[in-house]
């Protein structure tokens, strides 16, 4: 998925020195609504992410996570990467989070507040979190620096057979990024087999 996300961002990122073959005509932009949507979802997502780790109810934590992941999907829509957005919804909301909840319900399904969700390792967690933030921030600033996103309508949307962007994702995925894609699927297979080995006693 990170690959997909990177791909979606890469396809949509314009400006700077990067190649911009997809968005040629500059006149139609929607920067203002895009920024409004981004601001709103960013605030909601940050609050949601905060609540994921602070809420004392494990199912509520999962629901807050749902909001965070949904916000990521909305941001992909704003970047006109609908395929990535829908995949985000389908994979994270439709599969991973459902399985989280499913796991919770199969095990304890505790209602109300459970105190044992907390422990005394908060400083360590804070350091780890800040460290991760620093690394990601450095990577983003180093990579994109002063690049500016200009939100221009993707030309060719209006045409009847307009699955251009989805096709572009598929083409890149199955040619340029074929080996990482296959390696990722092997990784998932390993996880699957590992789970079976752990779960089965005989």
């Amino acid at each position: 998925m990170n690959l997909l996300a990177a791909l979606g961002a890469g396809l949509q990122a314009t400006g700077g020195d990067g190649p911009t073959p997809i968005m040629a005509q500059p006149e139609i932009t929607f920067s203002a609504p895009a920024q409004v949507i981004f601001a709103v979802t960013a605030v909601v997502m940050i609050y949601g992410a905060f609540r994921v780790v602070t809420t004392k109810n494990v199912v509520h934590a999962a629901l807050w996570l749902m909001i965070v992941l949904g916000g990521v999907g909305i941001n992909y829509v704003v970047l006109q990467a609908e395929f990535v957005a829908v995949t985000q919804f389908l994979v994270y909301l439709g599969a991973i989070l459902v399985l989280f909840l499913f796991g919770i319900m199969l095990t304890r399904a505790s209602m109300g507040v459970s105190e044992e969700l907390d422990n005394n390792l908060k400083p360590v967690g804070a350091v780890a979190g800040l460290g991760l933030l620093a690394i990601i921030a450095y990577a983003l600033i180093e990579t994109f620096g002063n690049d500016k996103l200009t939100f221009q309508a993707y030309q060719g949307v209006a045409g009847p057979n307009s699955n251009g962007r989805t096709q572009a994702v598929a083409d890149t995925l199955f040619s340029q990024y074929l080996i990482p894609f296959e390696v990722l699927s092997v990784l998932l297979l390993v996880a699957l087999i590992g789970a079976i080995v752990l779960a089965r006693k005989d």
């Binding site: 932009t29 829908v86 439709g94 949307v157």
Partner: protein
């Protein structure tokens, strides 16, 4: 940036997401009104449709069981659903003391809203026969007879059907009671399992159409090239079975198996919240029928007798669409009236061991045929080789299953023997 400029620039964003020719040009007041009109028509239309569907289902089942069915409220009992709804609204809204109040209130909405939203991508009318491609003209604007035609159209349906799982799951958990929880765990497992088969059988349609947009899928089927025979019927059968399981309708209604689980996930729900679950169930049935028609039966396509006026563009296509959908509504009702409920292990076996492998194998063979057509190979040879390969793979899999089962049985009987020996103190 001024507000007017802001409103102006919403257009391209909407065009990027909507994919409808309506939104590709300048977005003025008429366009906004057309979109609002579509929303209103679709919302009211499916709401009325669902009310009639509830009545129709009860009436048809009554006929099948030699009863009369609802016949008091309105002519032929047509207003029975409205009467039931009114009654439910005025009932006391009970919330169990141990429930999680917010999630308990949220769950019915998570069930109902996706059912409505799915309908946004269903092409309801429009002439697909000529080069019109389903476009109609309203007030000088070209548009499709569907609320939105996003590029990722049919994936939207999959997203919504997976969001709907949350409603069932959270309803069961938030009730804070045993039977709803058991019912929701069952439901979730079933819906997740069958979503895989649903997606895989749908993939064959996408393979043939070469597009994800619902308008594109319908257009690809114009001229009687309906996907039901273009994909070779099997994906259609798999889709219908998986859809029935996804809807939690009989014979897959283990979610609310009364003998075992009281009322399943909705046991603790009463009043309007219950009505919402009830509505969502029937709404999903209507939506699923519409999706089946769109995917496999060419949507609103059908003979329009060369008419290009409003009859040929709105009336006839909608009549065809409705007629096809009606067949599936009848089919779902007939399922409910005639089929006994599956046992839980049978449901899981059917989903994982039959439908998913079959859908996957069929998809691979169809992909092989496509490659054969591209490369100029003999299609029959490719199908033969593909089937042989798949059968060999399936045979190996069965062999592995059989040997591991034999091993497990042997281990089980050895363990049983040991424990028997222990109980009798070593005396056989």
């Amino acid at each position: 940036m001024s507000v007017a400029r802001l409103v102006d620039s919403v257009g391209p964003l909407a065009a990027a997401v909507g994919g409808d020719p309506l939104l590709s040009g300048e977005v003025d007041l008429t366009v906004v009104l057309i979109v609002l009109l579509k929303v209103l028509v679709i919302f009211v239309g499916i709401l009325v449709g669902v009310i009639l569907m509830v009545w129709f289902e009860r009436k048809l089942i009554s006929d099948m069981q030699n009863r009369i069915g609802p016949n008091r409220a309105g002519p032929f009992g047509l207003l029975q659903t409205v009467a039931d709804g009114m009654k439910l609204i005025f009932k006391e809204d009970l919330i169990p003391e141990k429930s999680d109040r917010f999630v308990f209130a949220l769950a019915p909405f998570l069930s109902l809203v996706p059912a409505f939203l799915t309908f946004a991508i269903v092409p309801l009318a429009g002439n697909f026969n000529d080069d019109l491609g389903g476009t109609v003209e309203i007030l000088g604007h070209k548009t499709f007879m569907q609320l939105a035609d996003p590029q990722v159209g049919i994936l939207w349906f999959l997203v919504m059907s997976s969001i709907a799982i949350y409603g069932v799951m959270l309803a069961g958990w938030a009730s804070g009671s045993k039977y709803p929880l058991l019912g929701s765990v069952r439901a979730t497992a079933q819906m997740i399992s069958y979503e895989a088969a649903l997606g895989l059988s749908l993939a064959t349609v996408l393979l043939l159409s070469g597009t994800l947009s619902t308008n594109g899928i319908v257009r690809a089927q114009s001229g009687w090239e309906w996907n039901i025979w273009m994909t070779g019927i099997v994906p259609f059968v798999i889709f219908v079975i998986a859809a029935t399981a996804e809807l939690n309708r009989p014979p897959f209604d283990l979610v609310e198996a009364e003998q075992e689980l009281v009322g399943g996930f909705q046991t603790e729900y009463s009043s309007f919240r219950f009505a919402m679950f009830y509505l969502a169930e029937f709404l999903n049935t209507v939506t699923m029928s519409a999706i089946i028609v769109t995917l496999f039966f060419g949507g609103p396509a059908g003979p329009t007798f060369g008419l290009t006026n409003w009859v040929g563009v709105y009336v006839l296509p909608f009549v065809w669409f409705f007629a096809k959908m009606f067949v599936f509504l009848c089919m779902f009702v007939a399922f409910r009236a005639t089929l006994p409920r599956f046992r839980y292990d049978q449901v899981m076996d059917l989903g994982w061991k039959v439908l998913i492998p079959l859908a996957l194998a069929w998809f691979l063979v169809l992909a092989g045929v496509r490659v054969a057509a591209d490369q100029g190979w003999n299609a029959l040879a490719v199908i033969g080789a593909g089937c042989a390969g798949i059968m060999a793979g399936g045979g190996l899999l069965l062999l592995a299953l059989k040997s591991s089962q034999a091993k497990r049985l042997a281990a089980d009987s050895a363990a049983a023997e040991r424990s028997a020996l222990k109980q009798t103190g070593g005396v056989r």
